[in-house]
Amino acid sequence: MRETEMASDQATTPCEQQEESRLPFLASARSPQRPAFMTTIGAPLLEARESSPRGPLERREERLAWLMLLPVVLALLALGVYPVLSTLWFSFQQGGSFGLGTTSAGLANYLRLLHDEQFWSALRFSLLYSLVTVCGQMLCGTALALFANRRFHGRWLARAAILFPWAIPTATNSVIWAYMFNDQYGLINSLLEHLGLLNPTHPIVWLGSAQLATLLIYVLAIWKANSLVALLVLAGLQGIPEEVYEAARVDGASRWQILWRVTLPLLRPVLLVTLILRTIESLQAFDLISAFTNGGPGNATQNLGLYIYLQIQQFGDFGYGSTIAVVLTAITLLFIVLYMRTLLRTGTR
């Protein structure tokens, strides 16, 4: 083992073990001791140790801990857990605005789902949206991260550019894009006309066609969430020790070989976790689509989120809205379990 840890082992107090648990990517330099797959997400989760307290001192520590946690746990139970359980309960109640909880509907809401064409098309859109955009985000994000990880003057600009789409409000951003693709006043059509590629009397009605609108939503979603993938991958890249690259170079590997045989395999755990997180997030998409097409044209770009919102806002049908929310939560739950399992497995190696 390393000398630093050996040294600290000699003076180990019960609490000192915690000191080991640090996040490698936060250390200023590349830490050569830490293999790449120990980096990033969920590290606090894995490294939180516990033990049953025995002495009075430990018991006092435990009491203090729960005291400090109390507000958070109570708040999350009240506004996090209780609403989720209520939603489940509401899904068995008769709909109608504000008339909730009076009459039980049994399984009626769920049976209604089976024959609801609009629900199935929303579900189809949600799943396809996740598949396409997450794949796109993983590809573009990883490429961005590999680029920003190179050493050159102005790298800070690349990193700031990566961060920008994350910081801009999704809904506001969608409005900007909707205007850029406006068939009359839009920048894109105007640009095409100035270049002579488009006849001004026949503008492209981008958001009027189901295929084009869907395509643009994909592009927008990939653009927007690139940054999140890039950030995680960047952290993963910085966890790979320089020696690994040196060894590969000494062995005569080309850049591509290093990428395919060294970098990407070492990044695999990070990529996997990112993939799951992005999938969870994309299943919950709402503001992006709502502000861009609002589900249109027709219902062509309506996903589960928009359909739930439609039930709540337009029909005031809290019961049926809750039912769709339960379906969405169930799908998400699958990925949450997958996420936890992946974290625990990659963490314990």
Partner: protein, 301 residues
């Protein structure tokens, strides 16, 4: 540069057999590689900042220019009147709502999260991992699974249409991410400081407040920025729990753009720029810290 450069000439053959201690390629090759790199950087910067660039241009156009067909690509008579109009009209109020709701909830989130993060990062107690698992998994649940019951709760408290209807949920839903990020920063503080404090007769809480907290002030600031951005950009709850008087900026912008066909694009663009500029400034200032903070939080949203 003092850093070891990668070999600029790549091995032609497949496999790893070729020795690489060969001299680097000709100077010209290096130059074109650099040029390509900066060309790629330029493309990335333009693509990533495209909406901001577009909004900046449109917001400085006159109303006639924004509705001209075909749209001009460049403002002929740059003007700031759109900003003035935006600040004086409804958008100014939405802006203020956004600031109040985000600031207040960031404050509450940070207060609660700091306590919890210290317990998770530094104290030993039973069921710690389970508690942490609970916090993390809750942050991954879709907000749709909470939006209806929360509406009914807030309604029974007569809070719908007030800014508290946003501040309360924002404060709570920002917690998991903030706790994870703060834990990462807290774990960076060497334990010896607290030990020394304990030897001097200080309590755990005292050591936390007087010694550990001052050491993670940059971490606290970074976390607050990330939480703030999350609250500032929130849309679903804001859309459901506000009325015209309490719209936040994103909700206001979307509703204006969807309902009024005679909307002044310049004013809307000005609103977009105003909603983005403070964040961009923070990013440029704190770029490296935010990257590490976001990664620690597992990058939700």
């Amino acid at each position: 540069m003092a850093l070891a450069p990668l070999p600029t000439t790549t091995a032609r053959g497949r496999g790893f057999a070729r020795p690489t201690t060969r001299p680097r390629g000709p100077r010209l090759g290096l130059l074109t590689r650099r040029t390509l790199l900066y060309l790629a950087l330029a493309v990335i910067v333009v693509v990533q900042f495209l909406p901001l660039i577009w909004a900046l241009l449109t917001s400085s156009m006159t109303p006639q220019e924004t509705t001209a067909v075909p749209a001009p690509l460049w403002p002929a008579h740059p003007t700031l009147s759109s900003y003035r109009e935006a600040l004086q009209g409804d958008i100014g109020r939405y802006y203020l709502n956004s600031i109040i709701a985000s600031l207040a909830s960031t404050l509450v989130t940070m207060l609660l999260a700091t306590l919890a993060a210290y317990a998770f990062a530094r104290l030993r107690f039973r069921w710690k991992r389970l508690a942490l698992l609970f916090v993390v998994s809750l942050s991954l649940f879709p907000p749709f699974s909470q939006v209806i019951p929360l509406y009914l709760i807030l309604q029974s408290l007569h809070l719908i249409g007030t800014l508290l209807a946003l501040i309360i949920p924002y404060s709570v839903f920002g917690l998991p991410m903030a706790i994870l990020i703060l834990m990462a920063f807290l774990q960076e503080v060497p334990f010896e400081y607290e030990e020394a404090a304990a030897l001097d007769g200080m309590s755990r809480l005292g050591a936390f407040v007087r010694i550990v907290l001052p050491m993670i002030i940059p971490g606290l600031f970074t976390t607050a920025v990330i939480v703030f951005v999350g609250d500032w950009n929130e849309y679903l709850f804001a859309l459901n729990y506000t009325t015209t008087a309490t719209y936040t900026l994103p909700v206001g912008v979307v509703i204006l753009s969807q309902t009024e066909f005679t909307t002044n694009f310049g004013v809307l663009s000005a609103a977009m720029v105003m909603s983005v500029v403070p964040l961009v400034a923070l990013i440029l200032l704190l770029e490296r810290r935010i990257v590490s903070g976001l990664t620690a939080g597992g990058l939700k949203g």
